[in-house]
């Protein structure tokens, strides 16, 4: 499985600024509704949880269902008061995790 996460956020920000974070991760998000050519249901295999923390503190998280499109895209915001590191974590039905991190300099 391709496990590439793409994240877009500013490299620096002012103290107290609210920044926008865009994430995209490669994943089929097999819904569990589709059938293969023999008519058998293809088992569900989706990313069911995403979390984002900043310097260890929770910023944003979500539980996802099969109604999220393939290669899940998530856009949210974060208020930054200090320089630090955002950590991103995706977990799928098999327990595979995809992680990424990005730093930001706050003046």
């Amino acid at each position: 499985m391709a496990e590439k996460a793409r994240i877009r956020l500013p490299k620096d920000a002012k103290r107290g600024e609210v920044i926008q974070i865009k994430t995209l991760v490669a994943h089929l998000m097999e819904s569990g509704q589709r059938r293969d050519k023999d008519g058998k249901l293809i088992p569900r295999m989706i990313i069911n949880k995403f979390t984002c923390t900043f310097n260890g503190k929770p910023v944003f998280s979500c539980g996802l269902e099969s109604a999220i499109a393939a290669n899940p895209y998530l856009q949210f915001s974060a208020k930054v008061e200090e320089s630090g590191t955002f950590k991103f974590n995706w977990i799928d039905d098999d327990g595979n995790t995809i992680t990424a991190e990005e730093t930001i300099a706050v003046a």
Partner: protein, 151 residues
């Protein structure tokens, strides 16, 4: 003659699909009851107020496999008063749950965007819970040309 028979067969097939209980929301597998149950669990018997949640969805989605959805909840997002949870439900999907977002004061703004699958034309319902115990809701009708489930 043979091609005519085939055409008839196709016509019959199309008719049986059309005759399936499509209903107002246009989805064969629509389960509004499940959707209602999911929302009821989230709101816990209270009545959410409308007006502070904005849902952006295309009026007509050509491809139900990836419909852009964005949600904005009017909230100061301070430690004392912020949105804590946002539930998204697609009433006409075979499995109505879409996503449950958890926000914190560190989220800064209560604005989220993603891309969702819609099985057919239907209502998308958003309910937000705030740290002060408030419940806010909104819904949008979307027409879907090609459904995004199964296939």
């Amino acid at each position: 003659m043979r091609s005519l028979t085939r055409r008839e067969a196709l016509a019959l097939g199309a008719m049986s699909v059309a005759a399936a209980p499509a209903g107002v929301h246009g989805s064969v597998q629509a389960a509004p009851a499940d959707a209602a149950a999911e929302i009821a669990k989230f709101i816990g018997g209270k009545t959410p107020e409308t007006g502070r949640v904005t849902i952006e969805l295309p009026e007509i989605a050509e491809n139900g496999n990836a419909v852009p959805l964005s949600i904005v909840v009017d909230s100061p997002m301070t430690p004392d008063n912020h949105v804590t949870d946002i539930l998204v439900v697609a009433e006409g999907n075979p499995s109505p749950g879409v996503a449950a977002f958890t926000l914190t004061p560190m989220s800064g703004h209560s604005e989220i965007a993603t891309r969702i699958r819609l099985a057919g034309s239907q209502n998308v319902v958003v309910v937000a819970r705030t740290s002060t115990g408030g419940l806010l809701t909104a819904q949008r009708q979307v027409k879907v040309t090609i459904g995004g489930c199964g296939g």
